[in-house]
């Protein structure tokens, strides 16, 4: 099977799964719930609730931003954990890994394809939240020029671009977790175990990130920049955070990709 054929196969498999769509729809429901809740009530007083929530009523764009903000700490990592944990362990658990490998597919290539699919899911998940947020936001609230954090107002198309950038930022933020998940998935034949472990790691990393006593560790946690996308809402845009985040996630990809390769390539595939 050619590389492209395998990838296409796996992508089709991902999006044909009912589970994938259930997760995407659940993610899409978050901004919808936020928007409906704000529409039905008079909205929270300024300064309460998640950042940007008080701006939702004034501008539909903020539904997408608030939705992403609310999804980052738990919902997005959970879904990524499910997909990443399933990559290798899922095949091993259902006994299809052996057949995949009997076809002339090298193990590194299979690993690469599996990771690409997981990364694609990271992007679809964030785009889903952003798109549902924009959709419901434009339905329930006025949409127009957006006031940035710096007090500058930008036109609606420019604001749309910023929301797109934020979605991209969040998708990149999840790459590290997906790489960790890929490695964990090679350790076990029980997909549920891998998923649980990945979700726990995502939460644990965020808790560690809140402890001031571990200051030295914080820049090395893959969750460190997860909430840093506010810099994309400033004028001028601060790209430093975007760059540092991409570098950090790339580092995680390198380390855990290599670990996954070491484990997967040297593993006896019995099932």
């Amino acid at each position: 099977m050619s590389n492209r054929g395998l990838l296409a196969n796996e992508v089709v498999l991902l999006y044909r799964r009912r589970r994938t769509w259930a997760m995407l729809l659940a993610l899409g429901a978050v901004p919808v719930l936020i928007a409906v809740a704000v529409r039905l009530t008079s909205g929270p007083p300024t300064g309460r609730g998640p950042a940007f929530l008080d701006r939702v009523a004034g501008n539909g764009f903020f539904v997408a931003i608030t939705g992403l903000l609310v999804c980052i700490p738990l919902f997005l990592p959970l879904t990524v954990a499910v997909v990443a944990g399933d990559t290798i362990a899922g095949e091993a658990g259902s006994g299809t890994l052996r057949y995949l490998l009997t076809a002339p597919v090298s193990r590194p290539r299979l690993l690469l394809v599996k990771f690409t699919v997981a990364a694609l899911f990271c992007l679809s998940a964030t785009v889903m939240v952003a798109a549902c947020g924009l959709g419901i936001g434009s339905l329930l609230f006025p949409v127009g020029p957006v006031t940035l954090l710096s007090g500058t107002t930008v036109s609606a198309p420019a604001a749309l671009l910023r929301v797109g950038l934020i979605a991209l930022y969040v998708a990149v933020s999840l790459i590290g977790l997906a790489a960790v998940g890929l490695f964990i998935s090679t350790l076990t034949d029980v997909p549920v175990g891998a998923m649980a472990a990945i979700a726990v790691i995502a939460v644990a990393a965020q808790i560690l990130g809140q402890l001031p006593q571990l200051d030295w560790l914080h820049p090395w946690l893959f969750t460190h920049h997860w909430l840093g996308f506010a810099d994309l809402l400033r004028d001028p845009i601060r790209w430093a955070e975007f760059g540092q985040n991409a570098l950090l996630q790339g580092g995680y990809l390198l380390v855990f990709g290599a670990l996954a390769y070491g484990r997967f390539a040297s593993k006896d595939v019995l099932s």
């Binding site: 007083p45 309460r48 609730g49 710096s150 107002t153 506010a230 380390v255 290599a258 670990l259």
Partner: protein, 414 residues
């Protein structure tokens, strides 16, 4: 394990090794000692005074560590998934906190000041400046354009505006009161500070990716809580890039304010033009009878390093108060200016005595302050790594950047 199996793990060993090598390499490069033409403190001071950088932009970072225990800031960014549980950083604007006890405000303030703050600074000449204080998901903007001053707070979406008609003129008149030559001014500072301070120039690390001299001021005093003040000076332009205050008995700097990136050159003009966004609450302020010297609104001092670095004419008068110039963080400073008669001692050993009738009620009767204070001989002590405050049994407040022993000695009238 078979060699063939071991081979598969080689990338897994190499990847962290490569990353570690890069990280260590980067930190070595950052800490690399700069080989610069040696200069005397006098020459470095002259560089600062001589500096002609009036236009620049840069990122700054301010860290405050006063030895007060820190609490985990769970949910302080308003980012947790539970919408109700997290009052955001703008909590001070919410109706709830206005009815909260003063202790909560104090905690808020301490939390807001301690830790690291980042700001983006743009300056174009003496009368155009913009400071963006980046507070997690919020931003505070201070914009000055000529006589017009704006403050915009994104968390509450409010803007404050004030026009100070005489502002630019005043600034220029201040220039004229400065000593005629930079050299003479550097001499004056040296002379005034030399009495109680040891000055030296150290080969410091690069600051904001630029070669820099580090001017070190060490108080010649046994009682001072200040161990050392280091001022990083850009070798190319003479602009001060960093101020670090080390406290006695603390490894981390108590105060560290400086640029993390610094670009000389005129920032885009539209940065200084501010129109309040539609829907924002705009408060127009009148100039108070006594002409306002500073910008409206509250500014977390630690977060506005650009102001402290002496680029603004209002701050550029170091010759007048030797020994005080780098003390802008210290509460004692302002009081000392108001009541010169209550100052005891000189230089680093300066102690301020506030008579019982002038001690603010919030301090005297504050339950939480009383809890934080430790009972000592003759009163209660509020201790931070840089500042000691002694609340004496007879109601006076004695404070200074000095050891407890000296405060007690002053309180006892010695």
């Amino acid at each position: 394990m078979k060699p063939a199996v071991l081979k598969k793990w080689i990338p897994a060993v190499l990847a962290p090794a490569v990353i570690a090598a890069f990280a260590i390499g980067a930190s070595i490069a950052a800490d690399a000692q700069v080989q610069l033409e040696p200069k005397t403190p006098q020459q470095v001071l002259q560089m600062i005074v001589d500096s002609k950088v009036t236009d620049f932009s840069g990122s700054t970072s301010a860290t405050l560590d006063l030895g007060i225990p820190r609490l985990p800031d769970l949910g302080s960014n308003g980012t947790m998934a539970t919408p109700d549980a997290s009052p955001g950083p703008g909590a001070s604007a919410s109706p709830d906190s206005t009815s909260a006890p003063p202790e909560a405000h104090l905690l808020d303030m301490l939390a807001a000041l301690s830790g690291t703050h980042e700001a983006q600074v743009y300056v174009d000449g003496p009368d155009k400046a913009r400071i963006q204080v980046l507070d997690g998901m919020d931003e505070q903007n201070f914009i000055r354009n000529g006589s017009s001053l704006w403050h915009y707070d994104s968390s509450s979406n409010t803007a404050d505006h004030i026009v100070v008609p005489g502002f630019p003129k005043k600034a220029s008149s201040k220039h004229s009161t400065m000593p005629p030559t930079p050299g003479a001014m550097a001499d004056k500072i040296l002379e005034a500070m030399g009495q109680n301070t040891d000055m030296s120039v150290a080969d410091g690390p690069r600051i904001a990716d630029r070669d820099a001299y580090t001017l070190e001021l060490v108080p010649r005093s046994d009682d001072s809580l200040v161990a050392k003040v280091s001022i990083g000076v850009d070798a190319a332009t003479g602009a001060p890039l960093q101020v670090v205050v080390d406290a006695v008995g603390q490894t981390n700097p108590a105060v560290s304010v400086g640029f993390t990136s610094f670009t000389p050159g005129t920032p885009a003009a539209n940065l200084f033009e501010f129109t309040p966004p539609a829907g924002a609450k705009v408060n127009e302020h009148k100039v108070p009878p006594r002409a306002l010297k500073d910008k409206p609104g509250h500014h977390p001092d630690a977060a506005n390093p650009g102001k402290k670095l002496g680029h603004k004419p209002g701050n550029a008068k170091p010759g007048k108060q030797p020994g005080h110039r780098f003390d802008t963080d210290k509460p004692g400073h302002k009081k000392a200016m108001q009541r010169p008669d209550s100052i005891r001692g000189t230089g680093w050993d300066t102690v301020v005595v506030v008579p019982a009738k002038d001690v603010p009620k919030e301090v005297a009767g504050n339950a939480m302050l009383n809890q934080l204070a430790t009972p000592v001989e003759g009163g209660k002590l509020l201790h931070t790594s840089l500042l000691n405050v002694l609340l004496t049994d007879d109601g006076r407040m004695v404070l200074g950047l000095v050891s407890l022993a000296r405060l007690q000695a002053v309180a006892n009238g010695k």
